[in-house]
Subunit: 346 residues, 3 copies
């Protein structure tokens, strides 16, 4: 049997790459499993004898360590690869004449990895050239297409679904999210950042039945497709969706404040406004937090202190960012178990 035949015959393996592939109830099931795993680690080693290839085209701290430790705690082995840095540039386009910088096509690299490993995960940020190109996510798309094993998205141009699971888990540990108020508030930064985290945060909050407010300066709207999905989720659960540039007013009555900086689609990858008064207007402060209904403060980390949010908030009673980061471990384990064993703890 040749390789070509083998690829055709294989059924599509399960994948966790985009929130939109899952129902609210499926996502909630993963979160509940993560909460159960946090309380009681599985007594057996469900991933014994299995390896997972974690491929990083961009740097990582929480994502790498939480997935590596989670895999090991389940009895498996984590292979960490800095694709590009440790290896060589990868080609993703079908039919390419490879006489340039790329030394290997993902059409080979991915199936080879999934012969060695029983699942594969990819972190690949947008290139920053055009949003039209970046939203196609060429590397992740190639991983999904060529893999013969489960694929996990560890952050791509359009989303960060593993972060979103940890976000919802952190909320659910503190409140029933249904009908509660979730604010995604844009924040200043020294450079134009990807939209993956804010998009997934808005999607998961809506999927969890929360009323969603997005506070952002004019010109910083999220992708239309993301917003359409958020709107549909809110409609389905009877929740509200609001987009505003009234950053002060937006904090009123919130139960969750989720801060994040991101770049503009219309001025793609251009520097962000940096005037001191603009930064002051959008930074998260204790004064703003006091307008909420005792909201928790969330951020995916890394967070630039006193640029995105003041020390007084991160070091004050509102912050749950360390718990939120810890929950990356438990949700990673839920995703690994679901994809690699088909089974979840209750």
């Amino acid at each position: 049997m040749t390789d070509a035949m083998r690829l055709e015959d294989a059924p599509m393996p399960p994948q966790f790459t985009h929130l939109k592939d899952f129902t609210s109830s499926e996502l909630m099931g993963l979160v509940d499993a993560a909460i159960a795993l946090k309380k009681a680690p599985p007594s057996c080693k469900p991933l014994a004898g299995k390896s997972v290839a974690f491929c990083f085209m961009n740097p990582s701290l929480r994502t790498q360590v939480s997935f590596e430790v989670g895999t090991v705690q389940l009895g498996g082995h984590a292979v960490v690869l800095n694709l590009g840095a440790d290896t060589w540039k990868m080609e993703s386009e079908e039919g390419a004449v490879m006489d340039g910088a790329a030394a290997e096509h993902l059409k080979e690299a991915v199936p080879v990895l999934t012969r060695y490993c029983q699942a594969v995960a990819l972190r690949s940020f947008p290139s920053g050239k055009t949003w039209e190109e970046d939203r196609k996510e060429p590397y992740l798309t190639a991983f999904k297409k060529y893999s013969t094993a489960p694929v996990i998205n560890m952050e791509s141009a359009t989303g960060h679904p593993c972060q979103a699971l940890a976000d919802l888990m952190t909320i659910k540990e503190r409140m029933d999210p249904r009908g509660k108020n979730f604010l995604l508030t844009w924040a200043p930064h020294v450079k134009s950042l990807p939209m993956a985290v804010p998009s997934s945060a808005a999607e998961i909050a809506a999927a969890g039945g929360m009323n969603v407010t997005i506070a952002r300066p004019a010109g910083f709207d999220l992708d239309d497709e993301v917003m359409a999905r958020v709107r549909a989720s809110c409609q389905a659960s009877g929740a509200t969706l609001r987009v505003t540039d009234d950053v002060q007013g937006a904090f009123e009555g919130q139960h969750v404040v989720y801060a994040k900086s991101w770049g503009s689609i219309v001025d793609y990858n251009e520097p962000l406004p940096a005037a001191p008064e603009f930064r002051q207007a959008w930074i998260v402060t204790a004064d703003k937090m006091r307008r909420t209904k005792d909201a928790v403060f969330m951020h995916c980390l890394p967070v630039r202190r006193n640029l995105i949010v003041r020390d007084e908030v991160l070091d004050g009673p509102w912050s749950v960012v360390i718990d939120q980061a810890e929950n990356r471990l438990h949700t990673a384990k839920a995703v690994l178990l679901k994809l690699m064993t088909g089974d979840l703890p209750r």
Copy 2:
């Protein structure tokens, strides 16, 4: 007891660094063990409590992941070191006055590693300055000399014996190699590549009893010593050896086509010819494959699509490159077991 005394007393540990150190029958034994390991992984953990240091002076994908996963599947622990990148430049020459860039001598680094780990492996490419210097393989030679534990060559200037085992295994899974026809065909590339893979491929095909044809442009002969060994193996088995620049004719009647680009010894490390008609003459195409006796197409990967070989071949019925890459895992395990336990499965 001092260190100096300890080194003198120790017997030479087993090593898997060059095909020439092994008989055809020993190599075939390793391949048969790998085939057995592919069918049935060992039920016990023969490398439990043992660590292996995998040292990379050059990048790797298949080699790292297959050895790392193979070690873990056998119950051992893999330490992956990017020597140079993660550490500092290493000196290999005896008597050097180390007032330059190198901060450590392999005379210390290697015995230290083999105090921590029960085997050590090295990938070290040629420097590209002169073939006379490169063929001495100063780093691998130092590893062999200073190690107090088994040494594995994960590709050096003169050979890639682990790749060769996977190559022969891939052939043997499909046919009895004895008396079959093996074509090593030179291929275009954007840069001058090492001769390790084609040298080892020719050696292992000859050791397997195959008739060997090498198609290459004038000026691209392999090293004389390699060719002498290939010739001797062919004579011993009653097989034929042919070297030709008739690339079209060379495909006639072949059972295995093995494509690889390599640089010239006479114009050492000079750019390869890049004229479109030259590249077209040497690229592997479906037309060429149709001249064979339903040959399988092999390449060690990474492969530059549409420069070395057309998509129509890699994506067609001939290609076995993914199986060939997978077999790196099984042959790695055979080598580890042989060196570290002295024992092989049957």
Copy 3:
């Protein structure tokens, strides 16, 4: 419960970051445990289910491999992170407005790591700007402050306590250190190196009850606080302390010769004297070793041959540097066991 509350409530975890935090008897207990571990590895897996994050801001060979293998041999899992290279620049200063290069504050990074891992270790060299700044060890100090799990110092500006344990262990395997003569001899180098190793070597020799001689050129005195501690230890044990620039005479009657290069505090981070006669005066030679009482020759490695010490010494009967490096493994295990289980083998 919010993050802020959680940090306040937690008691200080045990740490192994500075020799001065431990009594001579505690240090000797760790060394004795390491000697026991070398003879008989623990039959159970005391670190099963536990992970340790080894964070490197500077390169490492022995430290990484010995801690990684030691952790695995005890049943645990080692996460190796090149902080900076694999991730992003870290901020350590409280109250910083993070609009510069640093993307994350250690106030987040460290507690997150210690939610995933059950201990954390840091290698962080001095910046080389001013000794007044460097001796504050901002990164290590932040790790100690923010960690909710045991912290290990894998070399900081002021000390290398894990190396020191291996040093004393290597001596203790050969002699009762009490009352024996220990020479720390400054050595030439191509650049100005940190004072961590020589400071810790002098401290541990004094803690072990040895008479300490430090031979160094004028202007190369160690930090006053280090010297005060060495002096106090020598006084407590009734041993002598001598500092001299008579490098020839210093070798007379020594039982241990410990060579190391380091930079000057007064001409901080300036190039070292490089005149051939100066280098010849300070290099360790067989002639110098013959002045000793059959001393062993020690160096922490990596060592520049024929600049710090001649081949004739490293390859002669005096050298114990490979044993000394091996002992990093056994002392690492003792430190891990003490911090993570509270228990040591006898």
